[in-house]
């Protein structure tokens, strides 16, 4: 594995908006001319949607690795053989950091905070080696711009930069700073599950799996050592942990043992694959058809509860990207509101709560451009939903114990199930 160019992993970073303007560039070594981006723009031109630009592009001297987040392309210029996932992960981490610092990751917000952005990038990457990417650590070096802090800064002449060396960089537990103090000690865990599924025309499950994540908010004094155990840990097919989790304990006892970071963090993500039975909470009866003549079509969708674990399905929403030829819709919804966006040809039906006694139904006619051939493709329905207080996989937290500190923390676990990429083919 030899690279001719010796150099860092990421040579330069460009932030590019949808119309192709470069609104930020950072070079870690020599300046790379913008002309290298021609290859990217060429690919962008060709792509129908911005999401369709391939993430790794080859040019005679460089590789361009990009991600698309918040209507911005984060594009890294690479000269050596580098693991592309390394770069992509890092770029996502940069976007996450912006999100975390500024509340959103958008062109405007980045332009409004250019200097902080620049400092952050400098702090995150040194000569191509990621330096500090943990949000906790970064926040001690460069404070985020809150309105309150800006006021205080102007009053006291204080700065955005901390001059204390972040302790996390030094200890063996880089994710937690020393000397944390709280008056109310609390630890909350949210078990969030998303169902990814494809149902076919007849309602049969073609594919289904569950992506789960446990988000934690831990505000505990000192150096607490926590142990979280599940009623049924064998459910999980694949798990990924925050670095704080001791993998050995999980391997041997199937418990999560860890010294938590301070504040919000993702404790673990897990995967329940299609081989286990994944419960599908609703069924969808639908019929979307177009007639050969008369330039119109019919639509009829009904949704009913299936395996809801005895809970109510909320936040139900159906999104249908219609064929381009569909000019307008003339529908009636028995419940909720619907909108049809003429520009994007997307039909959105916002239903809300699912009432098992009175099933929501949307039906009516679609008018198709006169003279246009009968649409060839079948639209797919995208479903959103939410079920509170249940993890659809059946995963349950058994108990949380704390060692190493004497106080009694307040503990809480919350469950919620959502639809992820939940599609119904027609």
């Amino acid at each position: 594995m030899l690279g001719f160019f010796v150099g860092e992993m990421i040579h330069s970073l460009f932030l590019i908006n949808l119309s192709g303007d470069i609104f930020l560039e950072k070079h870690w070594k020599s300046v790379v001319g913008r002309s290298v981006l021609d290859y990217f723009f060429e690919a962008k031109e060709k792509a129908v949607n911005p999401e369709d630009v391939a993430p790794v592009l080859q040019t005679p001297h460089h590789y361009l690795i990009s991600i698309y987040r918040g209507k911005i392309f984060f594009l890294a210029v690479i000269q050596t053989e580098v693991p592309p996932l390394f770069v992509i992960e890092f770029l996502h981490r940069v976007a996450d950091t912006f999100q975390d610092y500024f509340g959103e990751c958008s062109e405007n917000v980045i332009k409004d905070n250019l200097v902080i952005v620049y400092e952050l990038l400098e702090e995150m990457l040194d000569n191509g080696f990621p330096l500090a990417t943990e949000s906790n650590v970064l926040k001690e070096m460069i404070r985020p711009p809150t309105i309150l802090r800006s006021v205080v800064n102007t009053l006291t002449g204080g700065t955005n930069v901390g001059d204390m060396l972040p302790t996390g960089q030094l200890s063996n537990i880089p994710w937690r700073r020393a000397g944390v103090k709280y008056t109310n000690n609390e630890a909350y865990f949210d078990v969030i599950e998303e169902i990814d599924a494809i149902l076919d025309k007849s309602g049969t499950t073609v594919f289904a799996e569950i992506q789960g994540v446990i988000e934690a908010c831990v505000k505990l004094t000192g150096m607490p050592d926590l142990t979280l155990s599940f009623m049924n840990p064998r459910l999980l097919d694949d798990v990924s942990f925050h670095p704080c989790v001791r993998f050995k304990r999980w391997e041997s006892e199937r418990v999560l043992s860890f010294i938590p970071p301070d504040g919000n963090f993702t404790l673990m993500t897990y995967h329940v694959s299609s081989q286990n039975l994944v419960a599908i909470p609703i069924y969808v009866k639908q019929n979307i058809s177009f007639f050969e003549t008369g330039s119109c079509g019919r639509l009829d969708i009904t949704i009913g509860p299936k395996q809801t674990m005895g809970k109510t399905v909320e936040g139900l929403m159906v999104t249908v990207p219609m064929p381009k030829a569909v000019l307008s819709v003339n529908l009636t919804a028995s419940q909720g509101n619907f909108t049809y966006d003429l520009a994007t040809k997307v039909l959105v039906w916002d239903i809300g709560k699912l009432n098992p006694q009175k099933l929501p139904n949307l039906k009516g006619s679609l008018s198709v451009q006169a003279g246009a051939p009968k649409p060839e493709e079948n639209p797919a329905l995208n479903i959103n939903l939410k079920i509170q207080q249940v993890a659809i996989s059946g995963l349950k937290v058994n108990r949380l114990d704390m060692y190493g500190e004497k106080y009694k923390p307040f503990k809480g676990v919350k469950y919620v199930t959502k639809a992820g990429k939940f599609q119904v083919r027609t």
Binding site: L2, E89, N127, V206, F241, E377, R425
Partner: protein, 877 residues
């Protein structure tokens, strides 16, 4: 308070205003000014003129201001080296600061200033920082060694920094270890032969310990480093695997893929009957599946690597077909990759589900994807024999949809199925024929014509169908024309009575009214075959088609091996072998030799082999060559794994290695000694770029400019720019290369045959020579063999025009006299540069020698060239 306000001052005096503010006495104002400068810098404005003023702000206790100035310095120090020296003292002072944050910042910034003069001053502070009590400073200093090495490698070695760096591998802090490993790997990359990373069991142990404790990025560095280690035995292999396996549960997908790489590599060393081997296999699947629920960009890289993994070890993911099912809102690049993997995983057990899915995809919106899905159905049919029937009926269903591009794609695919399973599914031909009129793409038309020709005896109106295509013959693409020609000849051989007129028509269209040499050549060959020996024609054209090997498209095992070792690298993304970038094509050479041998030993067999039409299509046409696959698997997770090219393909042009000059034409003169010489080429060679412009193109290219920009700047076409750059990359020159000229009429072997015969029996007649050559497969006229033996001249070194004239003077004219050729001869030679040199032309003129004009690259004066062309075309299929 936002930073956008820094952009409000865009008027002309901006720089002056900033200058004034930077020199202000008020700290706040200074800081604001530096912020404005940085803000301008971030959007690519040139604020380098402010260098001295910004550097003046460096001496401050304000950490934020210091950081900002450092940011600025890193950006502009290169362009202002003398100014940068001004900052040295402050750097050195800051390296002694009690605050470790400032020490680290100073040493880090100094390393980023790529100015030779500064590096001298950097050594002492760097030495101290490498031994600093604070691990944060040490880990920053470790990276700094790599930076310094990049600027001045010799200095780093002389100062003994490499040894210090190696010592850091044993540091107590895992983050320092990780950075030391990263720095050493980077340095080792530029010094491939140095023994920097001395991987022994002790180091391995240190690395594996640090692996558990360092940051996610550090883990990637360490895992990539581990992948280069070769364990002593399977026990060590297993123990490393055991210690790496927990990384599969990391939240960072790059860590996971690097771990997969290490495991895939070390697994090779484990005995397959070991229990642990099976356990390990089972552990690999879930993390790979989980990667597919990540962001689409990550999915893409993961999929490219999974593509390698399933080729190497299909058992890992054989039960996971469903995770590769396409969701309609996946980005197109993810969809296409998933489709590819689905076909690789397709087997008899799951083919029903796969087909149902593929049929679903064939009604999607995205045309490219739909086409690929239809092709995928065909690949399934070829791969899983039991499913062929089902695939055909699925394709027929799709044809019924009458969606134009689906129908065309389906017909192309059905042709392939016919080629794999001859005489099995001709019942569908009638349905296909119904769609004849809707076909407008050349590939689909050619496929349909092939089918009609192949099954002409079973299609009643085959002649009418083919005739209908003939009407617009000259508007068709070459592909269709060639196919139509062959199909009609087939038809004629099968139903000679009714189609005489048709075949006559197509042959004259192909040979007389066409200026496409391919078509003309093929037309003539058929014509001659049909007119001389119809039985042989039948044998040749309608011959049983031999099967070709099944695995033509798998990645070559050795390459796959290498790529597997580089899972996760760029090479594994591109899946391409280094040879893909090699200059000459050994494939073609080898094939040439094979044909040559075949033709010279057994012309009959040669005919059978070469002229047998269309070999059956292989099931694995889209697989990566086994060796490449092997190599790519080693590179899982790398860029290479995305592009499925081996990592070595990413080495940018080896500037050090000069290409050997192409062999001079000495050899070619031996092989065509009798060619009566010469010509003055008048055939238009298009205007050549001057060497100046070509050099300029290469310079701009080196500067990292795109073809487009270069083209615009120099006013040349992009394709011209590309051609010059490609040539430069391949030959490291922009000068004209020796040109190859048309293929020799008599091949080297024929020449040596002539020479041998003549040497042994100087009295051999040309008729005898001709017959001998004919026996060896080359048909030439007596004249070509020449009127007896001309003097042979051994050429020393490289020949130029003057030398050529000398040869002609000393040998050629006496030969003419000796051979008593009289006045009625014409001299003929090809357009070799020395033949067309000014000196040569003048000499010929002076001697009043009649020269036959020789069009450039002319196949016509080279009758055998026609046959080679035909061979090449067929070979290429």
């Amino acid at each position: 308070m936002t930073d956008s306000k820094y952009f409000t001052t865009t008027k002309k005096g901006e720089i002056f205003e900033l200058k004034a503010e930077l020199n202000s006495d008020k700290k706040e104002k200074k800081k604001e000014a530096v912020k404005k400068v940085i803000a301008s810098m971030t959007v690519g404005k040139d604020v380098s003129a402010l260098f001295p003023d910004v550097v003046n702000c460096m001496q401050t206790d304000n950490l934020e201001l210091k950081k900002l100035v450092y940011l600025y310095l890193m950006n502009y120090a290169k362009s202002q080296p003398d100014m940068a020296i001004m900052a040295v003292n402050t750097f050195v002072k800051d390296c002694e600061d009690p605050n470790p944050l400032i020490r680290a910042l100073a040493v880090r910034t100094m390393g980023c200033i790529r100015v030779d003069k500064i590096t001298e001053y950097l050594c002492e502070p760097l030495r101290k920082c490498l031994k600093d009590e604070d691990p944060y400073v040490r880990k920053t200093a470790a990276v700094c060694v790599a930076k310094l090495h990049d600027i001045n490698a010799q200095l780093v070695e002389d100062q003994g920094f490499l040894d210090t760096l190696k010592d850091l591998i044993s540091d107590s802090n895992p983050m320092v270890v990780a950075n030391a490993v990263a720095a050493l790997s980077e340095i080792a990359e530029s010094h491939p032969n140095s023994n920097l990373m001395d991987l022994n069991p002790q180091t391995m142990n240190k690395l594996l310990t640090a692996l558990n404790e360092c940051t996610e990025w550090g883990q990637i560095f360490i895992l990539d480093c581990l992948a280069n280690y070769t364990p002593r035995d399977d026990r060590e292999s297993q123990s490393i695997c055991e210690r790496v396996t927990p990384r599969l549960s990391h939240a960072n997908s790059a860590v996971v893929l690097s771990a997969v790489k290490v495991l895939m590599k070390f697994m090779e060393m484990l005995p397959k009957d070991l229990d642990y081997y099976g356990t390990l296999l089972k552990k690999l699947a879930p993390p790979l599946v989980t990667l597919l629920s990540a962001e689409p960009e990550l999915q893409y890289v993961a999929l490219r690597n999974i593509n390698l993994i399933v080729q190497r070890r299909p058992e890992i993911l054989k039960h996971e077909m469903k995770v590769f099912y396409v969701k309609y809102n996946d980005p197109i690049y993810v969809k296409l990759e998933k489709l590819d993997i689905m076909i690789r995983l397709a087997s008899q057990a799951n083919i029903a589900q796969v087909l149902a899915e593929l049929k679903e995809y064939a009604t999607e919106v995205d045309v490219d994807f739909v086409r690929k899905a239809v092709r995928a159905i065909g690949r399934c049919a070829i791969k899983v024999e039991q499913s062929a029937e089902r695939c055909v009926s699925t394709l027929l269903d799709l044809i019924q949809t009458k969606v134009n591009y689906v129908v065309q794609e389906a017909i192309v695919v059905i042709k392939d199925i016919f080629r794999k399973y001859p005489n099995k599914y001709e019942s569908v031909i009638a349905t296909l024929c119904e769609n004849l009129d809707s076909l407008d793409e050349p590939e689909a038309r050619a496929a349909m014509i092939w089918i009609v020709g192949e099954y002409a005896e079973r299609i009643d109106n085959a002649d009418e169908l083919l005739e209908s295509f003939l009407e617009g013959f000259h508007d068709e693409s070459t592909q269709v024309q060639l196919q139509l020609l062959t199909a009609i000849v087939k038809l004629f051989l099968k139903k000679p009575t009714e189609t005489q007129e048709l075949v006559q028509q197509v042959l004259s269209l192909a040979t007389q009214d066409s200026d496409n040499p391919d078509l003309r050549d093929r037309g003539y060959i058929y014509w001659r075959l049909l007119s001389t020996d119809p039985v042989a024609a039948k044998e040749v054209v309608l011959a049983e088609k031999p099967l070709i090997s099944e695995e033509t498209d798998l990645i070559e095992p050795t390459l796959l091996e290498e790529l597997i070792c580089h899972i996760g690298t760029l090479a594994s993304v591109y899946h391409k072998p280094p040879s893909a970038f090699d200059s000459d094509n050994p494939d073609l050479r080898d094939r040439g030799y094979i044909y040559w041998r075949l033709l010279s030993t057994d012309p009959v067999a040669a005919k059978e082999v070469v002229l047998a039409e269309k070999p059956l299509i292989s099931e694995e046409t889209d697989l990566i060559e086994p060796t490449l696959l092997e190599e790519l698997i080693c590179h899982i997770g790398t860029l290479a794994s995305v592009y499925h090219k081996p990592p070595s393909a990413f080495v940018e042009g080896n500037h050090g290695v000069q290409h050997k000059g192409l062999p001079g034409s000495a050899g070619s003169h031996l092989s065509t000694p009798k060619q009566p010489a010469s010509n003055i080429s008048t055939m238009g060679k298009t205007k050549e770029l001057s060497t100046d412009i070509r050099d300029k193109i290469v310079d701009l290219h080196k500067a990292g400019m795109g073809y487009k920009r270069i083209g615009k700047q120099l006013g040349e076409k992009i394709s011209t720019v590309g051609a010059v750059i490609r040539k430069w990359k391949k030959h490291h020159t922009t000068a004209n290369l020796p040109r190859s000229g048309p293929p020799h009429k008599i091949l080297p072997r024929g020449v040596s045959l002539i020479m041998r015969t003549v040497r042994n029996h100087p009295k051999t007649t040309r008729g005898e020579l001709m017959n001998q050559l004919k026996a060896a497969g080359t048909t030439v006229t007596k004249e070509t063999v020449a009127k007896g033996t001309e003097h042979l001249h051994r050429i020393e070194g490289r020949m130029d025009g003057a030398m050529y004239c000398g040869i002609l003077d000393q040998h050629f004219l006496p030969s003419v006299r000796e051979l008593k050729m009289g006045q009625g001869w014409v001299f003929q030679h090809n357009n070799d540069p020395k033949h067309t040199a000014k000196a040569t032309k003048e000499w010929l003129k002076k001697k009043h020698i009649k020269v036959l004009e020789w069009p450039s690259q002319s196949p016509n004066l080279n009758p055998i060239g026609n046959l080679w062309r035909e061979l090449k075309i067929r070979v290429a299929r």
